[in-house]
């Protein structure tokens, strides 16, 4: 593993920065940060490190929706240590963890995951767990949702909601029963809507490029029909729901209509679905293999419109490590997914802030996703607690190289591409890591 230069627990002096004051970035000659007390000066024995930010932005660290570091079942692919390293590199102080490799579907599994997480020396992050609502994801047996939500034996508490990864719902009756049972917990249900019969063996967006290349497509209606089924069931049972990685305007329209009718519905959009469209398929590069698929330019525009009008609550990362050998095959046989934690902020910041303003951009990447799962905010200038922040030079381009990624995987369509911004460093729980 390629670890970055990491200086454990330092007090920090940031000079010549533009600091996020909660509404905008304001120039500040000096920001002093205590490793343990944040903006409130304390007394400790730690060294003080001085950083000249040269006009870079100092903003709240990010909260990532869609983390899965594969451990323990696939620790040959990735580990918690790799994931935490990736989070620190990318300026993330916390995230919603949903384990596809090890579905958290009973109290023992939750306990084991909590124990494993807490035993990591590098764990200084605010990790929230999403529990499964079915045993093993995608089955028609209920997971132990009440005990999962309770989480009595952990300081972290229980799961913050329920989701079955990207597994399809086996049938509508089970969806009803899962929501009906899970409603007792008061938790939100998370769905990546995808009708399995309409998807079948599709691996790309069904559209102009799938036709041209003769590749099996996944139509938009695979998403919208599943989303509609979820919404109708949630309406019937009065259960709050969240749609993960929405890919098209039609689903956003369903969300808008549901909200107009008073339903508690939230949604996020994946970083890569905002950055890319299916013209990338022409490259026939498995790095662009995502599930749900990258859709057309028209869909991407619709997602941006949803960001601008407030329909989309958060930009998600869906950090998915894939072994090199699983990408060294043709597109259709490759394993879908991409790494994103290390590069999300420099990749999206400029366009996002240009489209919606800096305040909303910070909200979409940090405050809103944290609020969605009940996590604490990255920092509070007036509070006597740890400050988590990331320093971004918005105008310094950065070419993505393999060494940017933690662990021994580097699956990202942005590998080799130039990002418009670069991370100077991030300060998470008193630990500074340079970008």
């Amino acid at each position: 593993m390629r670890m970055r230069k990491e200086i454990p627990l330092v007090n920090l002096v940031l000079k010549n920065a533009k600091f996020w004051n909660g509404n905008s970035f304001e120039p500040r000659g000096e920001i002093r940060l205590d490793a343990q007390n944040g903006f409130v000066a304390g007394s400790n024995k730690f060294e003080t490190k001085e950083i000249d930010c040269k006009g870079a932005l100092v903003m709240p660290a990010l909260f990532g929706l869609g983390l899965d570091f594969m451990e323990p079942l696939r620790d040959d692919v990735y580990t918690f240590a790799d994931g935490f390293d990736a989070m620190h590199r990318g300026g993330f102080y916390g995230g919603l963890y949903e384990s596809a490799a090890n579905p958290i579907d009973d109290a023992d599994t939750l306990s084991a995951m909590n124990h494993r997480l807490d035993s990591q020396a590098s764990n200084r992050f605010d990790i929230k767990f999403l529990g499964a609502f079915s045993k093993g994801f995608g089955s028609d047996s209920l997971a132990e949702m009440v005990e999962l939500a309770d989480g009595e034996d952990s300081e972290r508490g229980g799961v913050v909601g329920f989701g079955d990864g990207n597994a399809a719902i086996p049938h509508s009756r089970f969806l009803r029963l899962a929501m009906e049972y899970g409603k007792m917990t008061g938790k939100r249900f998370f769905f990546q809507p995808m009708d399995k019969t309409l998807r079948k063996s599709g691996c790309v967006h069904e559209g102009a490029y799938s036709d041209m290349l003769g590749m099996k497509g996944i139509p938009r209606i695979a998403e919208t029909i599943a989303a509609y089924t979820v919404l109708e069931t949630a309406r019937f049972l009065n259960v709050p729901v969240h749609f993960k990685q929405v890919t098209c305007g039609e689903t956003l329209e369903l969300v808008r209509n549901a909200r107009k009718q008073g339903m508690d519905v939230t949604c996020d959009v994946n970083l890569y679905h905002l950055l890319l469209d299916d013209s990338c398929l022409e490259l026939l590069d498995s790095a662009y293999h995502m599930l749900p698929p990258i859709r057309s330019a028209e869909d991407r525009d619709a997602l941006w419109a949803g960001i601008v009008d407030g329909t989309v609550d958060a930009v998600s990362v869906n950090h998915t490590p894939v072994l090199r050998q699983d990408t060294e095959v043709n597109f259709e046989d490759s394993v879908p997914g991409a790494l994103s934690l290390e590069i999300a902020l420099p990749a999206i910041w400029k366009e996002l802030s240009a489209r919606v303003g800096e305040a909303r951009a910070v909200d979409l990447l940090s405050t809103a996703p944290a609020k969605l799962v009940g996590a604490s905010v990255a920092f509070d200038e007036s509070a006597n607690k740890v400050a988590n922040l990331v320093v971004l030079d918005p105008n310094k381009p950065h070419k993505v190289v393999e060494a940017d990624f933690a662990g021994h995987v580097c699956n990202s369509p942005l590998l080799g591409k130039e990002l418009p911004s670069s991370i100077v460093g991030s300060y998470i729980s008193g630990v500074w890591t340079e970008g």
Partner: protein
């Protein structure tokens, strides 16, 4: 005569008129050689070609193998059935192992779209696509074009109608790119569950759902093979209905030109996409396609290897 602009043959989308013209002209010369008592030329002597077939194939592999032998290349056949691919070896590892054996050209067929390009990105060998998924089958389209030129003199201004399972057909995709580049007008016709769902391909061709109208002005009709599994996948109700609606029959040909060419990439489902009396009848040029297949593949291999046919013929 200048060299080909392409370094590999992945497909015909984006291949220039210059390159297609060059391949067809060379193929015509090789076609003449194939009529001679001694059919072998020394053009690729000393070169080694591997036929890397991850999908079952008899016709295409045999045609390539024959073309390679006619050019005096050393050939090796590698099929997934007898390879370590079945033991979990990745595509890259397979290629690197083969490449270590100092292979010059790889002819590849695979179920996955883009495998030829993937191999080219990871290898120094010249790659020739012998069919990748439903994407492209460029040498089939080239032999179709050669056959039409041979019979009609030119492709420019000719009407070519392709009937059948367009959606899943690599032959149709290669043909529409190649033939439109060479000035032909392509019409596609087939059941609505077996044609492309989006309009991207339609920008280049005409879509005609009525088979009688589709054949009316055609100078050549290409019937595509109908896979029987389409019935299991609820894409079609029955072979019988398909034959009665889209099959090439004597009755349908009453709506076509008197001298229309009937073509098929083979193998034929007789009595489904093509009636036997049509397949064996006066309009059929199907066996000419097979012969031209060897000539076209000789031309492709020869030109990609950097030679000139007339120097060695």
């Amino acid at each position: 005569m200048s060299a080909l602009e392409i370094k590999h043959l992945f497909g015909l989308q984006g291949v220039s008129k210059h390159d297609i013209r060059m391949i067809l002209d060379n193929a015509k010369q090789f076609r003449e050689i194939l009529e001679r008592p001694v059919k072998k030329v020394p053009s690729l002597r000393g070169m080694t070609i591997v036929n890397l077939f991850f999908e079952n194939s008899t016709r295409t592999r045999t045609s390539f193998e024959l073309a390679e032998k006619r050019l005096s290349a050393d050939t090796v056949n590698f099929t997934s059935g007898n390879s370590s691919v079945k033991k979990g070896e990745t595509l890259v590892d397979t290629l690197r192992n083969i490449e270590s054996m100092k292979i010059d050209i790889v002819v590849v067929r695979h179920k996955g779209t883009g495998v030829p390009k993937f191999l080219a990105d990871n290898s120094k060998a010249i790659i020739v696509n012998a069919g990748d998924g439903a994407h492209e089958h460029p040498t089939q389209a080239l032999l179709d074009m050669l056959t039409i030129e041979e019979k009609l003199g030119t492709l420019e201004g000719k009407n070519v109608t392709i009937i059948g399972d367009i959606r899943h057909s690599r032959v149709a995709r290669s043909n529409l790119w190649g033939m439109t580049t060479m000035g032909a007008h392509v019409t596609l016709c087939g059941p609505s569950t077996l044609v492309p769902r989006n309009t991207s391909l339609m920008d280049h061709v005409t879509w005609e759902p009525d088979v009688k109208k589709a054949v009316k002005d055609a100078d050549a009709i290409i019937a595509l093979r109908l896979q029987k599994e389409r019935m299991d996948d609820a894409l079609l109700p029955s072979m019988r209905e398909y034959r009665n609606t889209f099959g090439i029959t004597n009755e349908l040909l009453e709506y076509a030109k008197d001298k229309v060419l009937i073509m098929h990439p083979g193998p034929i489902n007789r009595g489904v996409e093509l009636d036997s009396e049509i397949a064996d009848g006066e309009h059929s040029v199907i066996l000419d396609q097979v012969t031209n297949g060897v000539a076209v593949r000789m031309a492709v291999l020869f030109l990609l290897a950097g030679g000139r046919a007339n120097e060695n013929a």
